[in-house]
């Protein structure tokens, strides 16, 4: 590290921060999709990320799939988990209050974590990088190719979601459900189907984030809670329900963490996200990009 000058160190931390931040942003976007359609905060979102990573390890290492099919199979498996959560848990409790639903998602996350521990054990698992394991040296900064993959996966997902919500009828219908569920039913939008779709989509996005990050950070059964918490911090900081806000806040959180770890102490790294979350809740509870007016109309 001695050979890296101040400027290079700065760049190195920024790159690391953006990589982790992209993952937080994806987790936050997962929260937002479900929140937008149902007003439920799905605390099993972090578990979807963990399962994505572990399923990818299972398909790639155990079943011997090449990386791309393993990636897709892991995303599909976790989407199926999201389907089960909606179809067999949330839908059964559809007359419960939003708060009860949120508690149900916490219970489901504990179940997923316990299940993952039984299946995969307590050890962290590794997954090879999507391409080449060596680092690229650029201006004295070591870049892991996998970090670029994380950014590519995140960028693709954000772009696809933007197109989905702005162009496709189903995307607009999901926004309409979020805006006014009663009016959405009146124009003939099947709100239950949209809720179902939101859970599958969130699970799939969480899984993609999990697969992308595993080659860098490894993955184990109890990773979900912390990732979920930080993603939640990003979602609140960016304004619940705001996709662009989630993206910016996620990157901000990642950068703050990375610089804190680099310049202060890596021991305080995890506290940074929570401090930012608390500051947001104290001083700007509607988030950086949320509207005060809209926040006043929502129940949570």
């Amino acid at each position: 590290m001695d050979s890296i000058g101040f400027g290079a160190a700065w760049l190195q931390y920024a790159l690391g921060g953006i990589t982790v931040g992209a993952i937080y942003a994806l987790v936050a976007i997962g929260y937002n999709i479900i929140y937008n359609v149902t007003e439920i905060i799905n605390f099993a979102q972090g578990e979807f990320v963990m399962l994505g990573g572990l399923f990818a390890v299972f398909f790639h290492e155990t079943c011997g799939f090449p990386m791309l099919p393993a990636f897709l199979a892991a995303v599909a498996a976790v989407a199926l988990t999201g389907l089960i959560l909606e179809r067999y848990v949330i839908r059964k409790a559809r007359h419960a209050t939003v708060l009860s639903m949120i508690i149900i998602t916490i219970a489901f996350s504990i179940l997923l974590k316990g299940g993952a521990m039984l299946v995969w054990g307590r050890d962290p698992y590794r997954l090879p990088a999507f391409s080449g394991s060596g680092s690229i040296l650029w201006n004295g900064v070591a870049i892991q190719p996998q970090a670029l993959w994380v950014l590519a996966v995140s960028g693709t997902i954000v772009a696809c979601l933007t197109i989905f919500f702005q162009r496709s009828v189903y995307g607009k219908a999901m926004l309409a459900c979020a805006d006014n569920p009663a009016a959405a039913r009146l124009v003939g939008i099947p709100v239950r189907t949209m809720i179902f779709l939101s859970f599958m989509l969130s699970a799939a996005i969480g899984a993609a984030a999990g697969v992308a990050i595993t080659p860098i950070t490894l993955m184990e059964y109890d990773r979900g809670a912390l990732l979920g918490l930080k993603g939640f911090g990003a979602a609140v900081l960016g304004g619940l329900g705001q996709f662009f806000g989630a993206l910016v806040a996620g990157l901000l959180l990642g950068l703050a963490e990375s610089f804190c770890a680099g310049y202060v102490s890596s021991g305080y790294k995890d506290a940074v996200a929570l401090v930012l979350l608390l500051l947001a809740l104290f001083f700007k509870p509607e988030g950086l990009f949320g509207s005060k007016e809209a926040a006043g109309l929502k129940r949570f």
Binding site: V169, K172, A176, A183, G188, A294
Partner: protein, 243 residues
Amino acid sequence: MLTVRSLHTYYGNIHALKGVSLHVRSGEIVALIGANGAGKTTLVHSIAGLLKPQKGTILYKEEDITALAPEAVVQRGIALVPEGRQIFATLSVETNLEMGAFIHRNRRDQVQRDMGALLERFPILKERRRQLAGTLSGGEQQMLAISRALMARPDFLLLDEPSMGLAPLVIREIFAIIQRLRDEGRTILLIEQNARAALEIADRGYVMETGKVVLQGEGRELLVHREVQRAYLGKGSKEIWDA
């Protein structure tokens, strides 16, 4: 066209409809008037499928639609313009219209044509078609709510308090639109607190009180009815109390 027979609906624990019967013939405007809490909105919500009646039947074009979900009711050709307009405030005017045609989503040409025709018909909406619907004025929002309902191509329109919160001049415009819709062959059930305006354009009317229909008749007939004048038009109350 629509026949409601001794309908009982609970709104939470409240027995909101206590055996309501009425019918609407094809091509009519039927006004339903009554005070707040009389059960008018409960009735239209029961017809639209948002509330499940406990007893009684709703027949539409000879088909029993009593237990249908809202999606299925729209598909039969009944559209509700809800109380308070309920537009999608955070979506653009165009997207609101597109969502109105959700049941026709696989017929993109038709949706585009209908949208074009409606935007020609309401130039103010055309001017603001890219604006968020929440930024429109009350009257414009009501036009949008009606247009959104029309995008489903309904034969039968349920209008719940279309004049609520609007200025008198704007109310006149909205009621002119409603008359034109009838002249084009649509059937309309109009719920109103503004009894005079509603009865003036209605072919027939019903008066509801505490969950029951208490009076019915031709629009003009109800307009001059002593009881209606006293209770809803604010006329002659003095003589009645003095008598």
